[in-house]
Amino acid sequence: MTHNSNVEAWVSAWGDFLFRYALSRVQDRDIAADLVQETFLAAWKGRHSFKGEASRKTWLTGILKHKITDHIRQQIRRRKLEMALDDDPVSPWFQDDHSWREPQQAWHDSPDRLAHDRDFRLTLESCLHRLPARQRFVFILREINGDSTEDVCKQCDISTTNLHVLMHRARLALRHCLQSHGFGASS
């Protein structure tokens, strides 16, 4: 019986934390909830092997991290076709002589204002969804969550150079997408 009450205690103590952790990385409520669910089920099954060296929270987060990594790699594999596009050089933005196709405009705004701007957040979300899978995951982990380069490379199974290339392409595409929605479109 003590175990029964424990699982409720676990979920109430760490459920929201784990959900936010997953959500900020996969950006999808249903997927995040599924991953947290799998995490608790796996943890519960393996609860007797928990040695108590790390805190319970760290242990659960570690399991969730693996689940997120599996999910990301699966998504990337499933969208192998997209990689043709993903690997496309930066041709949409530059001419053959490496100059910009369209002049870049100044973007006068403040991070504080933008971060609280609902329109901006919704636009950003839709622009992120248009990125190829690898670019999107790498960008979200690195730029939004601030994960270390090493962590992101491990999670997405790529080299540091790959990561820099993907970040570069994601930024070009996002800047273009945001500008086309009026963010920084005119000074």
Binding site: H3, N4, V7, E8, V11, G15, D16, L18, F19, R20, L23, S24, R29, A33, V36, Q37, F40, L41, W44, K45, V90, W93, F94, D97, H98, S99, W100, P103, Q104, Q105, A106, W107, D109, P111, D112, L114, A115, H116, F120, R121, L124, R142, E143, I144, N145, G146, T149, L163, H164, M167, H168, R171, L172, L174, R175, L178, G184
Partner: protein, 81 residues
């Protein structure tokens, strides 16, 4: 100098990922002095970078859906000891 724009855009992004060499920093900065597109692009990346970190901090608190919560508890309780 416009033929350097593509490379400058890469350096502007890399600057947020790693420490640029002195030579790279100089090339980027000098190019941005004379190229307004690259200057605006590099500034936009910095603004975006700062905004995303900020947005992550002020994100509204999300809660694990109640249905998931109940499902987990039920599934775990049904597991044999």
């Amino acid at each position: 100098m416009n033929h350097f724009c593509q490379q400058a855009s890469r350096l502007a992004s890399d600057r947020l990922e790693r420490r640029l060499s002195l030579k790279e920093t100089l090339r980027l900065n000098i190019h941005c002095l004379i190229c307004s597109s690259c200057r605006h692009y590099a500034d936009a990346l910095r603004l975006l970078h700062a905004t995303l970190r900020k947005a992550h901090e002020v994100e509204p608190a999300q809660e694990l859906p109640a249905a998931t919560r109940q499902y987990i508890i039920r599934q775990c309780q049904e597991q044999p000891e």
